[in-house]
Symmetry: C2
Subunit: 179 residues, 2 copies
DNA sequence: GAGTACATGTAATTAGTTACATGATTGA
DNA sequence: TCAATCATGTAACTAATTACATGTACTC
């Protein structure tokens, strides 16, 4: 489905950007709440998108001589992206989840062993939830209006909070069962 | 992390089983709520597990001459599996989500276009939730005790319900914002 | 006899991770 | 000058999907 392609096109569409900054978006910014990619996947994809005519780049000199490639979207890239954006696709496959896989086989563990695993998951998910909560508080006093630039950011952050909340509730329920 | 390996070992550990039936577990049973695999991935992995000494098989004749391979777990396989099962691993990476990717860029769509996408997602997730709900009602009058065979089945079904509930709540919240 | 489900495989491709590899810039 | 970060790439490998390929058994 070339999702990485469209994730990149979306970013370049919003502003001229380097491969390095695209990587930061994927791994450190809001984007990381629903898509991640390493630089080793991003750079080849950028080259492919230039070859396809969806992107162009200019060389920019940083400092004395370091070369950066600043990518711009082309008309073709913009058309491609907007066409993808409004497509109504069936809900994606249920994501693979290694902890649920363990949980499925948990009757083979002792209660104390499984409790230990649950508590570890719980504390990590709680930390993640707290961090998301904090980001929300620090960045939004009120929900931004639909159509404003930050609306996308806001709703996916809301989505991440809902997802973590569901996860935490489930983990608490599991703990409750094993007593 | 060889998760497919352990998913298969867990199934074979519970009973002697054919590759075909493993495929059914992955794609039609409870397992499909947190792990999926096609037969083209399962059969080679089974061969690998036999080569590793984690599984053995016997040929069983079905009808006149059709050969089935009935897989059994070995002591080594059992040890491998139990060792994996009690391992406390860090929470898995946030799953990739194509609809959230679209949502992130939704300010480029009109309200009616994005509403259409949201409503489509909503009805599909609602249908999934209803199906899970029904499965729960049909199979469990009361939660099974920890340690019983059906406990694993039960909690991952609970997990799937929590996940879908979180997703539905988020989609409703998005709809609410665009009015 | 036809259609569906049972049963098992391989080949080609795409997606993604880990490791290898290099060099410049910035701030302490 | 040292360390962290900026910046860009490739190679090897693992994971997963799609397509190709074949034949049997069961039920209507």
């Amino acid at each position: 489905m070339r999702e990485l392609k469209y994730a990149i096109l979306g970013l370049v569409n919003s502003r001229p950007i380097t491969g390095y900054d695209i990587m930061k978006e994927f791994n450190e910014r809001t984007m990381s709440n629903f898509w991640r990619a390493k630089h080793s996947q991003i750079y080849p994809e950028l080259q492919k998108l230039v070859a396809e005519g969806a992107l162009e780049y200019e060389i920019v000199i940083q400092g004395r001589k370091m070369e950066k490639k600043l990518y711009h979207i082309t008309e073709k890239g913009k058309k491609d992206f907007l066409q993808w954006l409004c497509k109504d696709e069936p809900i994606s496959e249920t994501p693979k989840d290694p902890f649920r896989l363990r949980s499925y086989f948990c009757p083979l563990l002792s209660a104390s062993q499984y409790r230990r695993l649950l508590e570890s998951q719980l504390s990590q998910h709680q930390a993640k939830y707290d961090l998301l909560s904090q980001t929300m508080q620090e960045n939004y006093t009120a929900p931004p209006a639909f159509g404003t630039d930050s609306f996308g950011d806001y709703i996916v952050l809301e989505g991440a909070l809902h997802r973590e909340r569901g996860q935490l509730e489930w983990l608490h329920r599991c703990l409750q069962f094993i007593g």
